[in-house]
Symmetry: C2
Subunit: 352 residues, 2 copies
DNA sequence: AGCGGGTGCTCATACGTATCACCAAATACG
DNA sequence: CGTATTTGGTGATACGTATGAGCACCCGCT
């Protein structure tokens, strides 16, 4: 009708210099911007004539309209975005957590802001995410206990695998993981077992250790101090710690590692030292990262549902944001599962 | 002074129910919101008395003020956030790309929105990111050629390792990678060599193959069709393809894989078949993912600077956004580097 | 005819920030 | 001393959307 409306047509979806706004759609459809908003995102209970609704939708499609989520977020005080903080993307475990969370969030229409904590302290990352008005934050592998309270106040935090009690969270059955590893090794006949984990362990690592040690003790098979090795929870750390174990006067016959990366390092150290796995030495990891299946021999480990943890954390967060009940989700820890592969066997028979 | 200003004090940084805004800071400092904005984020050339400036900064600190980046983004038409789309976070290569990009972006004050493309087509992800008003998008491992043009129009796209010419991008020297693998194997004395790569290869995979095949041809050592295996670029795919190679009447003596994951699969298949690496068979991977160092024997490969690619993509994008010259960065491909480890050796001597 | 009530839409405003135009006071200058 | 000029700040507005209040209109009822 008017030249104006003809103007806004020019170029179609991809031609315009300026981004298409709700006002443009309104002009094109001959309605007000309010109506456009009501049709495209408003409450479905809004009273709009079918004919109008279709005209607006058609105009929006034709102009290639995409709502500006910054503007929406500003007025609704919700950005429909989550933040997720991990200590390092290098560790496949966290990658899987992120992946799981991203999928759930994406399906719910939420965006995901990633913060790889690196040098910057996690608290600072949380602040930055909040400046971006994320509706909530998932903290994975972050030492929550050492974070100042005010950094997390009013922040809708969900913590992965670090049940502090101060914040809602999802966790796996860490003591169960240690226990299952112990039971398996004991049942194979091992009596001299070692553990390796990081020196400044997170809650989960502590629980894995505790489960393992307790199960050993209950079996009347206490672990002695030289068999408890501290090293970074990485492949390099596992390598070093394993070398130390092999250098002992009386090395153990089997080992449980705080995570799979360490176990891979231990495996490597054995290969370098000419110790055959599993015939001469047994190794159990924890996490079941993808690589565990791909090394030779394949790593026996305890599966921790990383992707599931991430997904569940995201779901928990989304429910919290909707003000729904969250008791069911944050309640019980996720089950872990022992996975028998090729790095465990009965201990070698004593030399005569 | 006024009761109002006393009110906004209540509770300090962490107590307030409502988030503290620039207006609150203004009231507390006895200035206008404009002044607050000028002091805290405005152009440094703004003329503000030192005394006022300090008072505002002090008030902001005291109230725990954090600017709302949604509001800032709305008026500035810049969100100071980047999007990054990857096909799968499972592949460590992309994880490293993301990690590199995230670091550079973070240091520049940019946020990173992650989109793991999964089931949803990449074009749709780009749209969603643009709704969130990201200032630019990094596409890594995404089949850009098959994406509709209008999805990327005006989107400030930077493409990783897929130099289409239509969009700016950063790439590694893929043909060089293939060539270096070939030269190494040839120099060891191999004459019967195989290649494995995905059936529907991306540009980079095609170039790796081309470099390898051409170098062989130039050495008068053409590759025959049964030695060119197609399989998914994953560990499982490499495993299957290697099994097929070993089943040939006359198996090759060495192999170059399109990426490290396939090489790990090949390594696994050799172990399963009792073929000793490298004494009986040589394997060269490509990418140099972290795992390459951690398997036994350690994987010989061609290092592709994944983190560097991500970092450079981010830098390129940031420069583009600042309207700076980008020629230098998008120009030459990043160097790749041959990494000799333990999976290559001279071919076994012919059986007499 | 008068009126209550539903329908369908618009007006105005708010969200929190940046920024331009403008202004008062202080200072410089001939 | 009168007028430029600089200094230091304020007021108003815009960004693009959501949303409550309100308005015009039509329908059915008494």
């Amino acid at each position: 009708m008017s030249t104006r409306s003809k103007d806004s047509d020019r170029g179609g979806p991809s031609g315009g210099r300026r981004r298409v706004t709700g006002h443009d759609v309104a002009a094109h459809a001959g309605v007000s911007q309010s109506t456009v908003s009501l049709v495209l995102s408003g409450n479905p209970k809004a009273r709009i004539a079918d004919e109008t609704r279709e005209r607006v939708i058609e105009s929006a499609r034709e102009l290639g309209y995409r709502p500006n989520l910054l503007a929406r977020g500003l007025v609704q005080r919700r950005s429909f975005a989550l933040g997720i903080v991990v200590p390092e993307l290098d560790n496949p475990f966290f990658t899987e957590v992120v992946s799981g969370a991203e999928r759930v969030a994406g399906e719910a229409g939420y965006g995901v802001l990633l913060a790889d904590s690196g040098q910057i302290p996690a608290a600072e990352h949380v602040m930055r995410l909040r400046e971006r008005q994320v509706d909530g934050v998932i903290l994975a592998g972050v030492p929550v206990e050492t974070m100042p309270d005010e950094a997390l106040a009013d922040a809708n935090v969900v913590v992965v695998d670090e049940p502090t009690g101060r914040y809602p969270g999802v966790a796996s059955d860490a003591t169960g993981a240690g226990r299952k590893a112990a039971e398996h090794l004991l049942s194979l006949g091992h009596r001299s077992l070692a553990f390796m984990g990081p020196a400044d362990p997170s809650y989960t690592f502590r629980m894995r250790e505790r489960g393992f040690v307790q199960a050993l003790r209950e079996a009347g098979c206490a672990i002695t101090s030289p068999l408890l090795r501290r090293a970074p929870a990485s492949v390099a750390g596992g390598d070093r710690a394993m070398a130390a174990l092999l250098a002992l006067e009386v090395p153990p016959t089997g080992l449980f590692c705080a995570n799979d990366l360490m176990a891979l390092g231990a495996l490597k150290a054995c290969a370098a030292a000419g110790v055959r796995v599993p015939s001469e030495f047994s190794i159990v990891g924890c996490d079941d990262i993808e690589m565990a299946r791909y090394v030779t021999p394949e790593l026996t480990t305890v599966m921790v549902p990383a992707r599931g943890l991430g997904a569940r954390a995201a779901r928990l967060l989304l429910l919290t944001l909707d003000g729904r009940d969250t008791g069911a989700l944050s309640g019980k820890p996720l089950e872990v599962e022992f996975v028998s592969r090729q790095t465990t066997a009965p201990p070698p028979r004593r030399e005569p």
